[in-house]
Amino acid sequence: MELVTPELGLLFWMIVSFGIVLWILKKFAWKPILNALKEREHSIEDALLSAEKAQEEMIKLEADNEAIIRKVKVERDGLLKEARQVKEKMIQESKEQASEEADKIIEAARLSIENEKIAAIADIKDQVATFSVEIAEKILKQKLAGKEDQKELIDKLLNEIRFN
């Protein structure tokens, strides 16, 4: 029975000592320990958060870099394309110009050939006329050697010319 009978003296000492222990440990042990734990958790959490932030920033930076690279690539492609276009255009233009020039030269050549031709023809004509006159002169000189011949011709010519 004694085993389950509370003892007043022990109860008194137990309550007093446990109360004091509670108070002292609360003040000098649990408060500092719990605060330190909390602080440490906070600092760890902060560190983790900032690490995460840094990582995010890095990812962002990387993305930025990539974007820049992409942009640059696009720009480069654009430039190249433009250059190619310019080149083609230039070639085209020069081609056109060349052909135009060629045409012009050809035209000029043709013209001068024509002119030359005309001149030559005129020359030939002149010469032919001179030759024919000379020939005619010679023929006439030969034909009109006698008086009758001369008279006959004059008559003929006179007949041909009609007075109207």
């Binding site: 109860l11 137990m14 000592s17 446990f18 649990w30 320990i33």
Partner: protein, 369 residues
Amino acid sequence: MTCNSGFSAIFVIIIILNLSPAFGYTIALQETEEHTHQAKSEEQNKGFKPGDFIFDHIKDAYDWHILTYKDFHLSIPLPVIVYSKTKGLNIFFSSKFHHGHNSYKGFKIAHEGKYEGKVVELMEDGTDIRPIDLSISKNVFAIYICIILMFWVFISVARVYKNNQGKAPKGLQNFVEPIILFIRDEIAIPSIGEKKYEKFMPYLLTLFFFIWINNMMGLIPIFPGGANVTGNITVTMALAAFTFVVTAINGNKFYWQEIFNSPEVPFWLKIPIPLVPIIEIIGMLTKPLILMIRLFANITAGHIIALGFFSLIFVFGDMQVMLGFGVSPLSILFTIFMTFLELLVALIQAYVFTLLSALYFGMATAEHH
């Protein structure tokens, strides 16, 4: 190195705990053997009484008995503090009683009757009355040892926390910290809630470590362990009373309303006979009562079983000496097994007491919608 020292210290403690039952109980048993021999010579028909042997070990005492060899008793005398109406306040060491054989200043330790084992005052008419007894008994002394241990451990750990701020824990801190975190994260926060748990943390931590250390000290069979502190109903009663008072002080209006005027209960269960409030009040008182009985019963049962196995040696030894020796290896084996079990029980009971206290605080502070 410093990190390991905490763990190695624990390891050493565990080894001591595991090895010492055999050693300590042997001393205890030597004593009983002597007692038995004395008893045999005095009264031939009386043998070894396991009941008395066991109860002597789990009961509180006025001195801390360490060993008895033949007629030599080694025990630590503890102060007896008694106050009676006729003799006033008396303070003296329990050694004055000469192990219960003598009376001193009109006080003696009763050997039979209602106050068996307690200090009583001898009245002139021959009756015994019990004075107000505030003696520093074996259990009170064991509590002081536990308290000193707690102060030493936790205040030094707190100092390390202060000096070592923001650094990795080391030494004893490594041992204490996971337990503190466990109590905070697995007991206090789930039971009480994120918002209010902080207020109860010092109490829960003190409670847990007090019970656990005392349970463990109770497993060490010789001084400074061996006192059956948490297996004493008075101690568990005080602890349960603390939990009850803390619950009552922190109970919010919802908690008290639930007890005295529960809104979900029809009025005819409250008026004219307050049936439900009575049941609720009984429930409120039962909670600490259960805490008190659970811890007491578990720890006492563990001690009784461990001592029971050892008693077997002497029960058989009484029949035939060789039989006693024959049984002893089995008894030691059982006791070692029991000690391992008790190590577990020591932790579980401290955990359960703390957890239930936290749950009661949680109930008392819960917000209703």
